[in-house]
Symmetry: C2
Subunit: 844 residues, 2 copies
């Protein structure tokens, strides 16, 4: 099923069947390969044309000054930004003396396939040079999920049977085509400096790597660079395996078929192969690549590590590396796959989402997982609350080892977080809104420092991970300390009023179109859970608690504060209030807001956004998902559902989704209140965000949290999965657009497979022990190896809640899109470029 | 009465009797001379040592980039900053080949006197060079209040009878001392770049003037420069009159007595005089200076204007200029003087205050009056709401011509203000929080753009001016448009709630330790008045209203909104609330706040300041002064006074006065509620702020608004003056520290002289028409030329309200200061340098 779209719909691959220069920036992001440690954008082998050349290492950044027109107490003076490391992807080709470039000559065909089972990006093309020489190129690229420091490229040029146009044949007696293959390693790659007022794009980086030294030995090249300010070192190394097809009589014949030499100087290394191919012949260059970095400039052991990684890769060879990659992914999909019946686009999109979430996290190993993964420089490579709230929420159930790594990374930043709390005159630890190395890197405090909920989000991810995995070792090693220090933060941030309610004032919740509000409901409920989790963990780990000087009085105080937390409610509207003042504010005039004015943050002043009722992204609705238990505690089931319906409908009418973190959450809550078609529309919007570039900024990198949200919208949304305190429950229900849905989650060491049809849900369990599962409120014990099928109860939903004028879900908004329509084309994208509805300012 | 202080107490002068290098920066500000057009800091003639060399022209600025770590919609990208124009003050002296420098040789004596009746700064000194040659120097400096573009210096060197130390006499046969006097005009003066995190100091300026051309003719030098970015041109010119005392036989003898030559190159002009003086002889150099600027680079008429100004100054000569100056000031003091009995410090301080307010404004003529006048680079030379709320409130009653000029200047910036309103998606005009040319120049929007009250402050100053002067011509030419456009702003900014109350959300009031609040009470009441004034003015000037497309429906809508304005009140505390949430917030823990942590803005994050009850400066208390009528409308006199007492006491306990705009207002309201001793303490704090450098930043320039506040604290405070709607009233009452107080105000063309003793107040009237005056609520008609004496009723005040721990008024806080103590000495200042309690962040 191929449609008029840049990417064909395919269950296991992303296919691009023609080359479109307009879409290059987007495809570079979509075709990124990464393993959580190394990330390579899907740049063309030959380096140009390119939109944003990019190779990144997790946690590898440089400092830059953070200027402030008006300095004030506590503003960070330096920020961190991800750095483009030496580019090892480059392989240039000269065909009969003419450089291969897609913009010249004739491109007979060009396709790229991101294969999500092989973990490779394969490019195939046939090109005729301006002089009339035709070559076929097949390049395959991979970033190894099994060998953390390794990437590899297999670059094969071959000559078709009829490789010369007629007039050439006249001029040339020899039918061989002369080729030069130049494989490069380039340290000071020119990256376009984009001048932009969009705060979500990266700050223009003037930072360049400083070349320390470079080495060459045979076809192996090594380059050692360090950052200018942050004192990090990166070692990049490449080696080359060369093979000519004319290998008829041993190695000497082959080596006569080409000449190769390597050189390196001033940050540019070249391995240059000169050869000639007759029709039917081919030449293969296999490039093995290794990267590693170190924060200890006095230690050159990292050189040895890179050399060893390269040796290991050489030992595996291309086929070995691909074989490992396939096995790794087969194992992953066996525990993580989602099968969607009836909607091939969603089927493809959810695998694409999981594949990139895995790529962002798999081998990060105590480095942060940035908002854009390692797919671009958007948000300067910073990590935000997305990691804990969206990405770890997926990894915890599908690939918990990576979740544990990320938690350990957060834990390692506690010293910075403690310093920040001191700076704010608060107790405990205050984690930064955006960072790479744990230090704050924000230029606008009302949407960063004030967004204190990130601390509870971190605590929540930890609690959820421990609940899902039973990993008490991690809880003891990292968890207690995180929980205690964040509980201390909340304890010192809030205060009791005369009536004994505990308030948290002057903070910013997830909705960044309100700021510095009192009693943000999401923040309060998350803080409540944080305080309670800390109390429980301190009791569970008394020696850790003692080491942290936690007293039983302190624990009791946390519990009192948690149970006294204020939950704002508007009695007149009979809805929960996003904060103490929110529902008293003027309503935004959506009718008077033109479609071109979205995202509002680029067209309206904060002063207008903050003082009116307009919601950038799920905030109270996110609390409904994450804190539904606390929010609706004590209500009868009937009262609870009608309260939820009122709450959801009120905020639906105000939420413009100028953040990519919103649609998936709205999908989940829409499903919870039985609005299945609305849920489906939001699932589609979340799922197609990057594939269809709905916000026109996929070029800066993929929206990793929204990709994670795609899975959440299906599993927590349509599947209705909730898990906490050792209990896992599902309330599955399908929209008309989806015929069947099957997914797997690992909970407490057991793999649960859930298969949903419109009428029934089947639950299967792999593992040794039985597990109690709740289906639509009914608990049952599922034995290992068995399957139980339960009927899905009917739910009469109320009227479909409405959205602000013009801000209906993407599927409902654009006729011809969504269920029945095609994907955005190049032309569409160009026309919609100024719309630029991005995820999230989080101008920290 | 001379005390251990840098400045002696003197009723009509500021005297410094010795030179203290530590206090140089402060004395440069205190000894500034200005006429509202030209400002010259009190730099030493010889240029060094200096703290901040400065010569400024009103409205003369350059642009500089305003960097933002995170750009956002509507942030200004360029700011404006006052520029140091070519320095014409410099006169260097060589004595027998050695440069005169206070830091070398022996300073026998050194005094400076700022004479507030002559309008001159006179410096006298006797100095013995390291080589043993003694000279006497007397320099007098003036910036003409009558000839707007003119300043002048009379520089006299003389030789005392015994001018040589003994060993010199051995070496030298001639007893003449060789002198070189170098008078300079310097375009690219080195100004120290101070790196500071204090947002209140100027942004370091990298801008330099660009020299266009320079000319010389005889001893007249002219320099034409322009700014690098803002396309403003300044023409500076100096001329020299030279006179040797050995003028016994006609001009030729005198010209033989010295040689003079002038040269100019590369932005430095010199007039160099070589002479020799015998004991008893003297040499006088009179330097005439003229400056003007133009914003039209194609127009060189400004050169002619400067040449003409210099010709006129030459015609007047030094004595003529001084004579005009004296006459101008005699006339000013006749209408403006305040006599304080029993407190010579306050007597001196209030004249110092009025003198500098006059200097900041007298000849500004449609240029802004900056927060620091023309006395320094603090706040980058920007004008804030201070101008209207504090400075014009004084000028209106003492020197209304300057108030009219300032209003015309604001009116001239309406095009920028309209653009800003459009940018904010509001109607009408939104004046900038800080500016020089009318464009916003703020780097932190929550304390600038959001401080919308400035618009009502501007409207209030206009309404007050028209009320006091009856100047309907100005109202028609400028006033209606300002009122209508600001009323439109409020009308679009606010909204009606379901109950019909009109709210203004998300703004920042005068108290900058709260921000983005809903229904700031000061803002709401000022907006109310603004709407009502606009309605009245539109009715009074129907043709103007028609030109502005004001309909009667629009006027009615303004009135409905004004009458529906919400006034927050806390029923439980029975006090007015500073805003809708203020009284619900946590109280600041003053006991846990060390004295070294003030001003809080330099030691605590906004996030902490904003969410707690702590008040930087009078806000609700300012509303009590400016909007007392509306605030307490409808209450019985008894209820009104007890409500005022409760309101005042509540906010007294929270107000830290980290702004210099607070003490004077607290003095006024303290007096209104009968707290006379507290009022007196605040009067003293306001009065001595710059003379005693209480906030340790007088070096950046004088606090012009606080100086204006000194007068307000006496006249509106102790005198209890209020005036509006054609009514003027007084409620005089003296604290024990002041034996008598007399002041004068001009109201509706009549000069009212009020003389207060502890028991009585006498009212005299100069003018043609009688005037009805209210004394403590009793109205009486005062005839021209007559005096009526009224008894002052006794008022039983409640207990003295308390202030935050350690934040009592300066007089009460520091034993040995205030009433019974001396002024700060050089040593004190050094010790207190880090305290730095400044007026106002207004980080616009």
């Amino acid at each position: 099923m191929i449609r008029h779209s840049s990417f064909a719909v395919d269950p296991w691959a992303i296919r691009e069947s023609s080359f479109c220069l307009d879409l290059l920036a987007r495809s570079e992001s979509v075709f990124s390969l990464a393993n959580g440690h190394i990330g390579m954008r899907g740049n063309l082998d030959e380096g140009s044309p390119s939109a944003l050349p990019g190779t990144y290492l997790s946690g590898f950044y440089d400092y830059h000054p953070l200027p402030n027109a008006e300095p004030a107490y506590g503003y960070p003076s330096t920020g961190q930004a991800i750095v483009n490391v030496p580019d090892a992807k480059l392989i240039r080709l000269l065909v009969d003396g003419e450089p291969f470039d897609l913009r010249t000559g004739t491109l007979q065909n060009h396709s790229r396939i991101l294969d999500m089972r092989n973990g490779t990006l394969v490019r195939r093309l046939t090109w005729t040079s301006p002089g009339g020489s035709t070559v076929k190129l097949r390049s395959s690229r991979m970033v190894s999920l099994t060998q953390r420091s390794v990437a590899a490229i297999r670059y094969e040029v071959s000559i078709p049977r009829k490789a010369r146009s007629d007039d050439h044949e006249v001029q040339s007696r020899d039918d061989a085509i002369r080729l030069v293959v130049q494989s490069e390693l380039v340290a000071d790659e020119q990256v376009p400096q984009r001048s932009t007022d969009d705060p979500r794009a990266a700050t223009p980086q003037e930072a360049r790597l400083v070349l320390e030294s470079s080495y060459i030995e045979g076809f192996r090249m090594e380059m050692i660079c360090r950052t200018a300010s942050s004192a990090l070192r990166v070692v990049s190394s490449v080696d080359h395996l060369l093979r000519h097809s004319r290998r008829t009589s041993g190695p000497s014949a082959a080596s006569n078929a080409y000449r190769a030499e390597a050189s390196i100087e001033e940050g540019r290394g070249h391995c240059t192969v000169t050869t000639a191919l007759h029709p039917g012949e081919s030449f293969v260059l296999t490039k093995l690549i290794a990267y590693d970095s170190s924060s200890d400039l006095s230690d050159l052991a990292v050189r040895d590590a890179v050399a060893a990684a390269l040796a290991s890769a050489r030992d595996s060879g291309w086929d070995g590396l691909v074989g490992e990659q396939q096995a790794f992914l087969a194992n992953f999909w066996a525990r993580a796959d989602v099968e969607v019946g009836g909607d091939p686009e969603i089927q493809q999109a959810v695998r694409f989402a999981l594949f990139h979430v895995l790529q962002a996290a798999a081998r990060a190993e105590r480095n942060p997982i940035p908002a854009k993964g390692l797919t671009g420089t958007g948000y300067e490579g910073h990590v935000f609350w997305d990691m804990e709230t969206f990405v770890l929420r997926v990894l915890t159930y599908l690939y918990p080892r990576a979740a544990a790594d990320a938690i350990h990374w957060r834990h390692s930043t506690l010293p910075s977080a403690r310093r920040q709390a001191r700076e704010l005159h608060l107790a405990g630890a205050a984690f930064p809104w955006r960072t790479i190395n744990g230090e704050p890197s924000s230029g606008y405090w009302p949407a960063s420092t004030a967004a204190m909920h990130i601390n509870a989000d971190i605590a929540d991810a930890l609690t959820r991970y421990v609940d899902a995995t039973g990993d008490l070792e991690l809880e003891q090693a990292a968890g207690v300390e995180i929980l205690v220090e964040t509980a201390r933060l909340w304890s010192s941030l809030g205060y009791f009023d005369a009536g004994g309610s505990f308030h948290i004032d002057g903070v910013t919740g997830p909705d960044e179109y309100s700021a510095l509000v009192d009693d943000n409901i999401f923040t309060n409920l998350m803080a409540r859970q944080n305080l309670l989790s800390a109390a429980q963990a301190a009791r569970r780990h008394p020696s850790e608690a003692e080491r942290l000087a936690v007293t039983s009085e302190e624990v009791s105080a946390w519990e009192v504060k948690a149970h006294s937390i204020y939950v704002p409610y508007d009695d007149i509207l009979a809805i929960h209030a996003q904060d103490r003042s929110f529902t008293s504010h003027e309503h935004w005039d959506f009718e008077a807001t033109d479609a071109s004015e979205y995202p509002l943050l680029l067209h309206r002043p904060y002063m207008e956004l903050y003082r009116k009722q307009v919601v950038k992204q799920a905030d109270l609705v996110l609390a409904m998902f994450l804190q539904g238990g606390a929010l609706y505690e004590g209500l009868t089931p009937e009262d609870s559902i009608s309260q939820k319906e009122r709450d959801f409908a009120y905020y639906e009418a105000l939420t413009v989704r100028d953040s990519s973190l919103s649609a998936c959450i709205q999908a989940i809550v829409a499903a919870e209140v039985g609005q299945m078609d609305l849920a489906y529309d939001y699932v589609r919007e979340a799922a197609l965000l990057d594939l269809d570039d709905l916000e026109c900024n996929t070029s800066d990198g993929l929206h990793i949290a929204s990709l994670a949200g795609t899975w959440l919208s299906l599993v927590a949304g349509l599947g209705g999965m909730r898990a906490s305190d050792g209990q896992i429950s599902f309330s599955p229900r399908l929209p008309t657009g989806i015929a069947s849905l099957a997914f797997r989650v690992t909970y407490q060491g057991r793999l649960v497979i859930v298969s949903i049809t419109p009428d029934n849900a089947s639950y299967s369990l792999l593992g040794d022990e039985p597990l109690t599962i709740t289906h639509h409120g009914t608990g049952f014990k599922l034995s290992a190896g068995s399957t139980i099928t339960m009927a899905i109860p009917h739910m009469a939903a109320g009227p479909r809640p409405s959205q602000p004028a013009g801000r209906e879900p993407e599927a409902a908004r654009l006729p011809g899109k969504g269920r029945s329509g095609g994907r955005a084309t190049g032309t569409d994208v160009t026309q919609r470029k100024n719309k630029d509805t991005d995820k999230d300012k989080r101008t920290a």
